[in-house]
Amino acid sequence: MEKKKMNFARFKQFIPLYIMLLPGAVYLFINNYIPMAGIVVAFKTYNVNDGIFHSPWAGLKNFEFLFGTNEAAVIIRNTLLYNVAFIIVNTVVGIMLAIFISDVMNTRMKKLYQSSILLPFLISIVVVSYIVFALLSHENGMFNKGLLPMLGMEPVQWYNDTTWWPVILIVTNCWKGVGYGTLIYIAAIAGIDQSFYEAADLDGASKWQQITRITLPCLIPSIITLLIMNIGRIFYSDFGLFYQVPQNSGSLYPVTNTIDTYVYRALMSTGGFGRSSAAGLLQSVVGFTLVIVSNMVVRKASAENAIF
C-alpha cells in the first residue's frame, strides 16, 4: 500500500514532463505513424475503389521485381558499400574540420570557414550535377581541356569509365554533406567543459594529446548518435547523387546503380503504388534490423551512449 502511494507520488512529479512530451508525440503520431498503415499496400494489389485496407492481397508479388534480376546483388552491394564509405569519410572529415574550426583564434576567419562549409548544402543536387559536368564533360570539361593536358595526361572518357566513379561520388557526397556533421560537432565541442583544456595546458599537454584525450572522448556520444542514425539509412541512397551526377550514363551503372535508382528506372513507366511501397518497406526493414543490432552492441559497451 505504502509503496503504491509512493509510486503514484513519484509519478505525479513527472506529469509536467509528460505534458511537455505530448505536442511532439502527437505530431509524430499524425505525420509518421498514421501513414505507416499504408505499408500494407506492399502486400496488396491496390485499387482506389476498395482503398488501402480492402484491396485484395497479393502476397509477395510486389517484391518480385526487386529480386528477379541479376542486378540485385550489384545494386545491394553498391548501396551498402557507398553508405559505409560515406559514413566513414564524412565522420572523419567532419570531426577534423570541426576541431580545426573550433581552434581557429581569429573570429572573423572562424565565421568565414563556418559559413563556407555550409554553402554546398544549399545547392540542389541537380545543380551539383551540372557543376560536376562542367568539370568532366568530354567536349568542354575543365579536366579534359585544362587540367589533364597541363599535367601532360591523356583525356579521360569520364562518363564511360567506371574506374573513377567511386572516388568522384564519395568526394561529391562529402563536399555536399560534410557541413552538416561539422556543425553538429562544432556545437558538441562548444559544449565541452573549457576547464579540461585549461588543466591540460597547465600540465603541458600537446595539442594532439588534447585532441585524443579530451576532444574525441567528449565527442563520442554525438558520434555514436550520428552513426546509429546513419546506419538506419544504410539501404537508402541519395537519388540525385547516383542518378543526376553521373548523368544517368548506362556504362556507369555497375558502379552507380543503387536501390533507389533501380526502383526509379524500373517504375518510371509502369508505376505502381504497391511495388514502390514494397521497395520502401524492404529498405526500412534492413535499416531497422541494423539499427537494433548496433544499438544493442553500443548498449553492451556503454549503456549511456545507446540511443534507446
Binding site: 514532463l17 511532439g24 555550409l118 545547392i123 540542389s124 568542354n140 559544449g191 554525438s222
Partner: protein, 293 residues
C-alpha cells in the same frame, strides 16, 4: 602565444582556406554561368571567364517579378513559423527524454526513433494530409508534412542535453523549488543554445530549400513558395522542350540552360545575404557554450 601554437594556427588556417575555396568556387562558377550568354554556354560549356555575358536568364525570371516576390514572402513566412515551432517542439520533447529517471524514457525514445526507420510512403501521407486535414493549397502544406519535427533533431538535442548539461544543476534548481517547466525555460533552453541554434539552422534551411511539399500539395500559383516556383519553372521548361512541337516560337524565348543556374542562384541569394546576420547568433551560441564551464 607559444611557437607551437602559432604553427598550429597557421596550419589549420591554410587547410581551412583550401577547404573554403573548394566550397565557394563552385558557387562562383554557378553565378558566372547564370550570367553567361545562353548560346555561349551551350557551345562552350561552363566557364569562370565566359566569352559573352547576358542577363537574359534573370530577365526571364523577373518577367514574373510579382510572383517571385510573393513567393519569397511565402517562403520567409513558412521558414520563420516552421523553424520557431520546430525548435520549441524538439526541445520540449528532448528535455524530458534527457532525464535518466523519467519512467518510460526508453520506450518513448524508441517511439521517436522508430519514425526515422519506417515510413508509410508518400501516397498514404498525401491521402491523410489532403483528405483529413485539407491542407492542399494552404500555407500549412509547407509547414506540416515531414519537416516540422524530425526524430533526428530530437535525438541530437537530447544527446546534447544529457552530455553537456550537468545533472547537479537540475538538483540544485529542484532544491530551490523550481518545477520542471521553470528548469526547462530558465536552465535548459539557455544552456542548450548551441545545439538549438544548430538544429534551428538546419530546420530553417530545410524549410527554405524544400520544394517537395509544394510539388505535391500546391497547384495554385499564388501559393507558390520560391523553391516551388523555381522548381516548377525548371520542370516546365524541360517538359516543354521534350514535348516540343510548338511552332509559334514561344519556347525559343526561354534561355533553357543558363536559367537553371540563375534559378539556383535566385533561390540561395537571400540565404547568402541573411547568413552573416544569423551567424552572429550562431557564433554567440557557441561562445556561450564555451564560457559555460
Amino acid at each position: 602565444m607559444s611557437k607551437g601554437r602559432k604553427a598550429y594556427q597557421a596550419v589549420i588556417n591554410i587547410i581551412l582556406i583550401i577547404v573554403s575555396l573548394c566550397m565557394i568556387l563552385p558557387l562562383v562558377l554557378l553565378f558566372m554561368s547564370s550570367i553567361t550568354e545562353e548560346n555561349t554556354l551551350v557551345a562552350n560549356g561552363y566557364s569562370f571567364f565566359p566569352a559573352q555575358f547576358s542577363a537574359g536568364a534573370y530577365e526571364y525570371i523577373m518577367q514574373n517579378s510579382a510572383t517571385v516576390f510573393r513567393a519569397y514572402g511565402i517562403t520567409v513566412l513558412v521558414t520563420v513559423i516552421g523553424t520557431s515551432l520546430s525548435i520549441i517542439l524538439a526541445s520540449l520533447m528532448a528535455f524530458p527524454l534527457s532525464l535518466k529517471d523519467l519512467p518510460g524514457r526508453r520506450v518513448i525514445t524508441f517511439y521517436v526513433f522508430f519514425t526515422m526507420l519506417f515510413s508509410g510512403g508518400l501516397v498514404p501521407s498525401y491521402i491523410m494530409w489532403t483528405t483529413t486535414f485539407g491542407i492542399r493549397n494552404t500555407l500549412w502544406a509547407y509547414i506540416f508534412p515531414n519537416f516540422l519535427l524530425g526524430a533526428f533533431n530530437i535525438i541530437l538535442v537530447r544527446t546534447f542535453f544529457t552530455t553537456s548539461i550537468p545533472a547537479d544543476i537540475y538538483e540544485a534548481a529542484k532544491i530551490d523549488g523550481a518545477g520542471y517547466l521553470t528548469i526547462y525555460w530558465r536552465i535548459v533552453m539557455p544552456l542548450g543554445k548551441p545545439i538549438l541554434v544548430t538544429i534551428g539552422l538546419f530546420t530553417g534551411l530545410s524549410y527554405w530549400n524544400d520544394w517537395t511539399n509544394g510539388l505535391y500539395y500546391i497547384n495554385k500559383s499564388n501559393m507558390f513558395s520560391i523553391q516551388t516556383l523555381l522548381n516548377r519553372m525548371i520542370q516546365d521548361i524541360q517538359a516543354l522542350a521534350a514535348h516540343s512541337t510548338a511552332n509559334s516560337g514561344s519556347l525559343m524565348q526561354i534561355p533553357q540552360v543558363s536559367i537553371r543556374m540563375a534559378i539556383a542562384f535566385v533561390a540561395i541569394l537571400p540565404i547568402l545575404i541573411v547568413y552573416p546576420f544569423l551567424q552572429k547568433y550562431f557564433a554567440s551560441g557557441i561562445m556561450l557554450g564555451a564560457v559555460k564551464g
